[in-house]
Symmetry: C2
Subunit: 223 residues, 2 copies
């Protein structure tokens, strides 16, 4: 019944230098943007230079888990945050919702929803947490899938690197609506409006070696 | 008629530490992945920490142009590479093509195509190059659109920040095909295969104030 939404505390680096009215720290909004995605772009610093890699992530409450299978040395060296300091990262998730076509080239834009998380990534070393994280990574892609596949065995868990990033220094940014043309351009003879961008799934393609008696599960049919 | 494709020279940081067989330096492949996108994730270092922001880009030959409207201080301070050293960046573009569902949780994966560009970003200061870059940014989103909108005027060009990144240290990474289950898992009773991921566009929505006599242009109807 609260009228005040839960928010993340804004910090110097989560307040954008431009379009501040599009920024939000609302936890529900941040979660909804994260949960519609399963791929993030993870940035870290290697030898003083930035590296940005696409990778899978999963959310469990206020923690994100990122698959460290990139095998990158800095990620492997991140450490558990106790015996090693962890790795400063920036994790970004973006959805494009529409192409915004204005009469003027200058006012062309996108409708989008993005989340940027700053923080320190730590290796997950606790076996129970690792198992929870791996389930979350699979279920982020297809909800319900982890319960309908063979769980990782000891050898696989040992071969899997997962890092954790707490949701603490977080912001969302959202643009919605039509083009913002200047008043003097409204009469120009150019089409103006929004082209919606849609995501979706095609018909699932069974593996060549799938036993034909295995039916398509409901969570895929309804995806 | 050449049988040897043009390639980018591999460097230490464009050779992945894992899944090397998925890496490619083929220029045609890199261009095709870039040209199917208009949003990239741009990484740079600010106060020693990584920052990753989604932003529009356009390609002109072997140059990428990135909209600097993020207003970020490091981007504005990048300089032209002559009087200022420019800004080390990493620009990444990712397409997800399919969800790869294996019998084992461990072998779940994605089919994807990505490009990672490392280099030094420089501010575009030449007015002609700036105009070319802005057209490219608009046409990357909707091919043909820059010729069917009002070009930027002097005031708008002065207010627009664009940075250039040359395609030099570049790699692509691609996964295709079905799941790679272990032989002993093939008989498990879990559905296995690939769910295609599709992108697309909805019906264009005219701006509220669009003159109804302005028809939808062909390049949008065929998008």
């Amino acid at each position: 019944m609260s009228t005040t939404p839960e928010t993340y505390a804004a910090t110097e680096r989560t307040v954008p230098t431009r379009s501040r009215h599009r920024a939000s720290y609302d936890k529900d909004l941040v979660r909804s943007i994260l949960d519609e995605a399963y791929v993030c772009h993870l940035g870290f610093v290697r030898d003083g230079a930035p590296v940005v890699l696409p990778t899978l992530f999963g959310r469990v409450g206020e923690r994100l888990y990122v698959h460290g299978s990139t095998g990158s040395r800095p990620l492997r060296a991140a450490g558990d945050g106790v015996t090693a300091p962890g790795l400063p990262v920036c994790l970004t998730v973006t959805h494009v919702d529409g192409l915004v076509l204005a009469r003027s080239a200058f006012h062309h834009s996108l409708n989008y929803r993005s989340v940027v998380v700053h923080g320190t990534a730590r290796q997950v070393t606790d076996p129970e947490e690792l198992r929870t994280a791996l389930d979350a990574l699979v279920d982020q892609v297809v909800p319900g899938r982890s319960a309908d596949s063979r769980p990782g065995n000891a050898k696989e868990l040992a071969a899997t690197s997962v890092i954790r990033l707490d949701l603490d220094e977080v912001s969302a940014k959202v643009r919605t609506g039509g083009p913002d043309d200047d008043p003097e351009d409204l009469g120009l003879p150019y089409w103006s409006g929004v082209v919606p961008v849609r995501g979706g799934y095609g018909t699932p393609v069974p593996a060549d070696d799938l036993d034909p008696s295995v039916a398509l599960p409901g969570y895929l049919a309804s995806l």
